[in-house]
């Protein structure tokens, strides 16, 4: 997610290639487009400062029915995540000190090694939710394949064992938080990690592969109290193993997971 800002200053200076006389003659037909704007003479500084934007999920909002209803996505993405983005932009407007970071970098900087700055919550929640939408797909679930499956079997024993561990982590998380399948950089292995509130594994320099939102707002409208049913629906019907495979392929450029098994003729 890139960062951009529109400063009013670039609107105020028209680019003119001809002399100053023309600039003063407002009836000239060669007025530049900028001069022809209706508020050109009032030229109030219209401060439009937007640092980060709300990214849409890679599918329509009703695509995850019946496991995640359109109504839930509209509230979760449209209201909660939009609130985080707008809150983040408002906080960043206050001063320039955090200007210019990508969202990844902003999350790591505002985490501040354990004593998070006030912007951390909004920044991390924007990041987490983008990651979460991308971790799901309509018609997801099933099993991973090939190299990813082999890595899971190597680190968890079997795919069923990993699934049980993931579900158990989601059910035993007290309060609000996230459950992740993470590739640990130093240990060079996959692990299931649970974090509370907005914390996310990139602050510890690990590489997340799957995320599951277990804040109550993520499932309450559809499943009410039943977190177990929600997690099972996620695991069996929503999680996108294609995306996870793509993520782990990219991660292997940074973490040495051993020799690839190239079949010898």
């Amino acid at each position: 997610m890139g960062s951009f800002s529109l400063h009013s200053s670039c609107l105020a200076k028209p680019t003119l290639r001809w002399s100053n006389d023309c600039f003063q003659n407002l009836n000239s037909l060669k007025l530049s487009a900028l001069q022809r704007r209706p508020n050109f003479h009032s030229r109030k500084a219209s401060k439009v400062l937007a640092f980060y934007g709300l990214k849409s999920p890679p599918y329509k909002l009703d695509a995850l029915e019946p496991y995640m209803s359109k109504r839930l996505l509209e509230t979760h993405w449209g209201e909660h995540q939009r609130g985080y983005v707008e809150g983040l932009n408002k906080e960043l407007e206050k001063n320039d000190i955090l200007y210019g970071y990508t969202l990844d970098e902003l999350v790591k900087v505002t985490y501040n090694n354990g004593s998070p700055l006030p912007e951390f919550n909004n920044a991390a929640q924007v990041w987490n939710h983008d990651f979460f939408w991308e971790s799901m797909q309509p018609g997801g679930g099933g099993m991973p394949e090939l190299g990813l499956l082999q890595q899971i079997e190597k680190d968890f024993g079997s795919f069923t064992n990993f699934k049980e561990k993931f579900i158990e982590a989601a059910l035993s998380l007290f309060g609000s938080g996230w459950v992740w399948l993470v590739l640990k950089r130093r240990e060079k292995r996959l692990e299931v990690v649970k974090t509370s509130n907005a914390v996310n594994p990139i602050v510890w320099d690990d590489i997340p592969l799957i995320s599951l939102d277990v804040w109550e707002h993520a499932y309450y409208q559809d499943y009410k109290n039943d977190r177990g049913k929600y997690v099972n629906a996620f695991m069996n019907h929503l999680v996108s193993w294609h995306v996870v495979t793509a993520r782990i392929i990219r991660a292997e450029a940074f973490v040495n997971l051993g020799e690839p098994k190239i079949p010898v003729a």
Binding site: G175, S176, N197, A198, W215, N225
Partner: protein, 284 residues
């Protein structure tokens, strides 16, 4: 709603006898039988036993856990394991409309609070087993479950007492010594409500916002706790007077994302009788 008898253990005098070896009396006499497992009693019968009056008599100011006033429970307490049970609400689920919807009240009480009670009992049972077999790591590992579920039970028990329907006094600011103390410590009633709402809105994730009394300094404080931590975790001298649940399950179905609206509206059903009682007791 389903109520469960507290589970009773075998008396310690007969450790060698397995439950199956003891003769089981006819079902009608089971509530008095020593090795009863949790048997659901029909709600009407239970209501007759544990009426509002007995509950009020039992629920002393400070002890947040409400126990059913049955002879069975008293017997259980004197014997082995003590179990906790879901306290009854002194009002209907729909009585707090429109501030808190009936759907939320029902889910909150029957599902969330009940699961805290069930898991608390389970954790305590496991704790007793771990202590009995001298398993220190297991004892330590159970602490977080006890803190979470036990805290949930304590906090919600206080919460139900803090709420009342509008026609029964909900929403009226406190009078008497507690009312004066609020004015003294916060400036005005409005300032106090404003502070509670600000703290509640600013709380990230799940938690509670409390009006507490610092016993040592005899001062009122506004505090927040995370997840289900009871107020004592913020200070051993703090006594909870009013608690507002700001977990999402407490307001989501009705207010969705708008936590500030929930906080503004819940004051219409906050009842000060329990808080005044506790305050007067502590400040005597």
């Amino acid at each position: 709603m389903e109520m469960h008898l507290p589970r009773r253990r075998l008396p310690y005098l007969l450790p060698h006898l397995l439950p199956s070896q003891l003769a089981l009396p006819p079902r009608s006499l089971l509530p008095l039988c020593p090795q009863t497992r949790s048997i659901p009693i029909p709600p009407m019968a239970l209501r007759a036993i544990a009426s509002r009056k007995t509950l009020a008599a039992l629920g002393s100011g400070l002890r947040a856990q409400a126990r059913l006033a049955t002879t069975a429970a008293a017997a259980a307490a004197s014997r082995g394991l003590v179990t906790f049970s879901l306290p009854d609400l002194p009002y209907d689920y729909g009585a707090l409309e429109p501030a808190v919807s009936a759907e939320i009240m029902q889910l909150h009480h029957q599902k969330h609070h009940q699961s805290y009670v069930t898991n608390y009992n389970k954790a305590l049972e496991q704790l007793e087993d771990a202590v009995a077999r001298d398993d220190a790591p297991a004892v330590v590992k159970l602490q977080s479950a006890i803190k979470f579920n036990g805290g949930g039970h304590i906090n919600h028990s206080i919460f139900w007492k803090n709420l009342a329907p509008i026609h029964e006094g909900g929403g009226e600011p406190p009078k008497g010594s507690l009312g004066w103390a609020i004015d003294a410590d916060f400036g005005s009633w409005e300032a106090f409500v404003q502070k509670m709402n600000a703290e509640g809105a600013a709380l990230q994730g799940s938690g509670w916002v409390w009006l507490g009394l610092d016993k040592e300094f005899k001062k009122l404080v506004v505090e927040t706790t995370a997840n289900q931590d009871p107020l004592v975790t913020k200070g051993a001298n703090l006594v909870p007077l009013i608690g507002i649940d700001v977990w999402e399950h407490a307001y989501y179905l009705q207010y969705k994302n708008a936590k500030p609206d929930y906080l503004k509206n819940i004051w219409k059903v906050i009842d000060w009788k329990y808080a005044s009682e506790v305050y007067e007791k502590e400040c005597r």
